[in-house]
C-alpha cells in the first residue's frame, strides 16, 4: 500500500541551527501539507502546497519556515534558525485532491528536538 515517508524519524539540533525535514509523498498525489504537534498538544496546520507554490499557511508558518519540492518527488520543510519552541513532531501529508473532498495520508512524523 502506498504511503508517505518521512526522514529522519528523529532529529536533534542546537538552537539557531537550520534543519531540513524530508518527506516523500504518495506518487500520484498533488497536494502536500506540513502539520506539527507539540508534545501534549493538538495537531496544528502549518502549510499546504500545490502546483509548486504555497496554497495556504498558518500564522505559525513565519519567515523562519520554508517549503520546497526540489525534484518532483521530495517535499521538504526548512526551519532556518531553530528555536526551543520548534521542538515538536512534524507530520507531512499528501492528498490527490484538496482535503475537503478527499482524505490526506500522513507520514509517521519526524520528532524534532531543539536543545
Amino acid at each position: 500500500e502506498p504511503e508517505v515517508t518521512q526522514t529522519p524519524s528523529h532529529q536533534v539540533t542546537q538552537m539557531g541551527q537550520e534543519v531540513i525535514l524530508r518527506c516523500v509523498p504518495i506518487s500520484n498525489h498533488l497536494y502536500f501539507y506540513w502539520y506539527r504537534q507539540i508534545l501534549g498538544q493538538k495537531v496544528e496546520f502549518l502549510v499546504s502546497f500545490y502546483n509548486n507554490e504555497i496554497s495556504e499557511k498558518s500564522e505559525i508558518f513565519d519567515d523562519q519556515f520554508s517549503v520546497e519540492r526540489p525534484d518532483g518527488s521530495n517535499f521538504t520543510l526548512k526551519i532556518r534558525s531553530t528555536k526551543l519552541e520548534d521542538s515538536a513532531m512534524y507530520f507531512c501529508a499528501s492528498s490527490v485532491r484538496p482535503t475537503p473532498n478527499t482524505e490526506a495520508f500522513f507520514g509517521q512524523g519526524t520528532r524534532l528536538t531543539v536543545v
Binding site: 495537531v43 499546504s48 495556504e56 498558518s58 482535503t99 475537503p100 500522513f106 509517521q108
Partner: protein, 114 residues
C-alpha cells in the same frame, strides 16, 4: 471558521465494552469530518471519514461514526473494545472555506482495562 471540540481528554473502558468518543464541530460550510488514530510513537492513521454521503460511516477496526447535523456532532463508537484500541484519537474537520487545511481537535486518549 472551522473548529472541533473533543469533549473528553481521556476515556477508559473495560475490554469488551462499548467505546464512545465524543466530537462536536463548527463549520460555516458543508464539512468533511474525519477520525484519526495515533498509536504511541506512530503517525496519524485515518479511521473513517464523512464527506456528505451516508451519515453513518463505517471505518477500520470495527469503528463507526454518525454525522448529526442538528447536533453538530460526529461521535466515534465501537461495540466492543479491544486492548489494541488503546491510542490517541483525533476528530478533524475540513470544509470549503479553506481549500487545503484540516483542523484537528485536541485528542482523546483511550485506555482499555483488562
Amino acid at each position: 471558521a472551522q473548529s472541533v471540540t473533543q469533549l473528553d481528554s481521556h476515556v477508559s473502558v473495560s475490554e469488551g465494552t462499548p467505546v464512545l468518543l465524543r466530537c462536536n464541530y463548527s463549520s460555516s460550510y458543508s464539512p468533511s469530518l474525519f477520525w484519526y488514530v495515533q498509536h504511541p510513537n506512530k503517525g496519524l492513521q485515518l479511521l473513517l471519514k464523512y464527506t456528505s454521503a451516508a451519515t453513518l460511516v463505517k471505518g477500520i477496526n470495527g469503528f463507526e461514526a454518525e454525522f448529526k447535523k442538528s447536533e453538530t456532532s460526529f461521535h466515534l463508537t465501537k461495540p466492543s473494545a479491544h486492548m489494541s484500541d488503546a491510542a490517541e484519537y483525533f476528530c478533524a474537520v475540513s470544509d470549503h472555506s479553506s481549500a487545503s487545511k484540516i483542523i484537528f481537535g485536541s485528542g482523546t486518549r483511550l485506555s482499555i482495562r483488562p
